[in-house]
């Protein structure tokens, strides 16, 4: 029982990090159709900016200032670059964000170097808050969880209860009609892009000091974010939350399962020749294939339910 609780809890922690990272992208992708390949780069920038700011004025101010800077950067990218590229179609947009990804990575390496920087958990949150199954949970991990849950509540309330949120929801599916009702859709797009980047930046601030702040961090988390938004459903915040937690739990559970198909075959009294080619495959443990499980889920979702769990339109 303890093991299940422990796995679920770890899955929840990882899932909420994925949610922070993917919520912004699901809005951007769902609303503007922009496959922002550079989204995780803003996550990385969040971590580096927080590292720099917290060196001078502490972690808590960095928690607010870094996402604000990222929001501004994101909004400017949308207004002065992406909007111009948009008229050449989605392929041009994809290539643009692909280029942006590498530009940001190179800039980060030029400024902060190729090795991880010393961005650490603040001392006043670096203690064990409670233990479960002999595993201690750091106060900072709980802080991250609380912030991510608060972020979901605020974002969901803004999107569903405010006029600005209603405009965003309507512009997700009918941008021309929203414009013809007198709402400035390009400005809405710019703000959503800025907000989406800020959310990724916030995730970077919170995760950079536990996952490590280094130039490859965008590449290591970038692809999984696309899995989350496709599985959850384009433009659906609820979908992003459910898919993040689902993928978080699937990955953490799979990593802890050291069983292979061969174990099962032996359990029912059969055996496969040790020289057989199949043996290599059936000897693979679930923990070994854990990294590909989210992508398998992505492929299955695209084949059987392209609109995702909670989306209202196909990819």
């Amino acid at each position: 029982m303890d093991v299940i609780l422990f796995t679920l809890f770890n899955g929840l922690l990882y899932g909420m990090l994925l949610f922070m990272l993917s919520s912004g992208l699901t809005l951007i992708f769902g609303m503007m159709g922009v496959l922002n390949f550079a989204h995780a780069s803003f996550f990385m920038l969040g971590a580096y900016f927080a590292y720099q700011i917290s060196k001078y004025i502490g972690f808590i101010p960095a928690l607010f200032i870094a996402p604000l800077i990222i929001a501004f950067c994101g909004a400017m990218v949308e207004k002065y670059a992406l909007r111009r590229v948009h008229k050449f179609g989605h392929v041009a947009e994809l290539l643009f964000t692909f280029g942006l990804f590498y530009i940001i990575e190179e800039l980060v390496q030029m400024i902060w170097g190729k090795v991880p920087v010393g961005y650490h958990v603040p001392e006043y949150m670096d203690f064990t808050l409670f233990s479960m199954s002999g595993m201690g949970y750091q106060a900072y991990a709980m802080f991250t969880l609380v912030v991510s849950i608060a972020m979901f509540i605020v974002l969901f309330s803004v999107l569903t209860k405010t006029r600005a949120g209603l405009i965003i929801q309507a512009a997700l599916t009918h941008p021309e009609i929203v414009s013809s009702l007198g709402h400035n859709v390009p400005k809405v797009f710019m703000l959503v892009f800025g907000l989406g980047c800020a959310l990724a930046g916030l995730a970077g601030v919170l995760a950079g000091n536990t996952l490590g702040t280094e130039p490859s961090m965008a590449l290591s988390l970038g692809p999984i974010v696309f899995v989350v938004i496709v599985v959850g459903g384009l433009g659906s915040l609820k979908g992003a939350l459910v898919a993040s937690i689902l993928i978080g739990i699937v990955q953490t559970t799979a990593i802890s399962l050291d069983y292979s198909i061969n174990n099962f075959i032996e359990l029912i009294g059969f055996s496969v020749d040790i020289e057989s080619l199949w043996r290599i495959l059936i000897d693979l443990t679930i923990s070994q294939i854990a990294p590909i499980l989210p992508y398998l889920l992505l492929v299955l979702m695209l084949i059987f339910r392209p609109r995702g769990l909670f989306g209202n339109r196909d990819v």
């Binding site: 405009i167 009609i177 013809s180 009702l181």
Partner: protein
């Protein structure tokens, strides 16, 4: 109120509007008639800035060609699209509230007035707009447009696919809107509704205006009707 001169519109290499000229005065109902594919919807989209165009569109003494769609809407032009584009994920009431352009401006039309006009919408105020019938969705899009206090409305095929009873309701609503001094450009395929409501009609063919006059004049002109309107 609105004067369109030598308007040309293009979709890629296709030349859709080929020098359209049209005029609407304050408080007037004008019908824009023509068969499918002659450019009627493109004309109203052009006025809203949704299509690349050349030419001139003067609205209340201002040239609006080149203006952004939301700026055109804020000048007082309302647009009801042909395919009843309600916002499907929002409720009926939320759809209406999104029609309000300026929260601080004095409201000429309120949600309560809309509900008084269409009790069906009131009963389903908190229901998702996608759950409404075709006729109810048409009412909702017209009401949503009215919530923005337009001085000039362009309504694209409001009676398309509606029951005769619903067509009657739409006609009554349009009369009520016009009685408040709002000019209406009514895009229609049928002559019947235009005969009942419009002061003047424009008939389009091959991206041009091929007839301009009163509905009675068009009704009497068999040659023009047969060539450009009847199937």
């Amino acid at each position: 109120m609105l004067k369109i001169s030598d308007l040309h519109a293009y979709y890629g290499k296709s030349h859709i509007l080929r020098g359209v000229n049209l005029k609407i005065s304050k408080g007037e109902i004008i019908a824009l008639l023509g068969r499918n594919g002659v450019g009627r919807s493109t004309l109203v989209k052009s006025v809203m800035g949704l299509v690349p165009i050349t030419g001139s569109i003067i609205y209340k003494n201002d040239e609006i060609v080149g203006n952004a769609t939301h700026d055109i809407a804020l000048k007082g032009i309302g647009y009801v699209p042909e395919n009843r584009d309600v916002f499907p994920t929002l409720t009926v009431k939320e759809n209406l509230l999104l029609g309000v352009k300026d929260k601080n401006a004095k409201a000429e039309w309120t949600v309560d007035e809309m509900f008084a006009l269409f009790p069906n919408l009131k009963e389903r105020a908190d229901v998702s707009a996608s759950a409404l019938s075709g006729g109810e969705q048409q009412m909702l899009t017209i009401c949503r447009c009215l919530m923005g206090n337009p001085e000039f409305m362009m309504i694209d095929e409001p009676t398309e696919g509606l029951s005769p009873q619903m067509v009657e309701t739409v006609a009554e609503l349009l009369k009520k809107i016009a009685s408040k001094g709002i000019s209406i450009l009514l895009v229609e395929q049928k002559l019947t509704i235009a005969l009942r409501l419009a002061a003047r009609v424009y008939l389009m063919g091959h991206g041009k205006i091929v007839f301009e006059g009163t509905p009675k004049e068009l009704e009497k002109n068999n040659k023009i009707r047969k060539e450009w309107l009847e199937v």
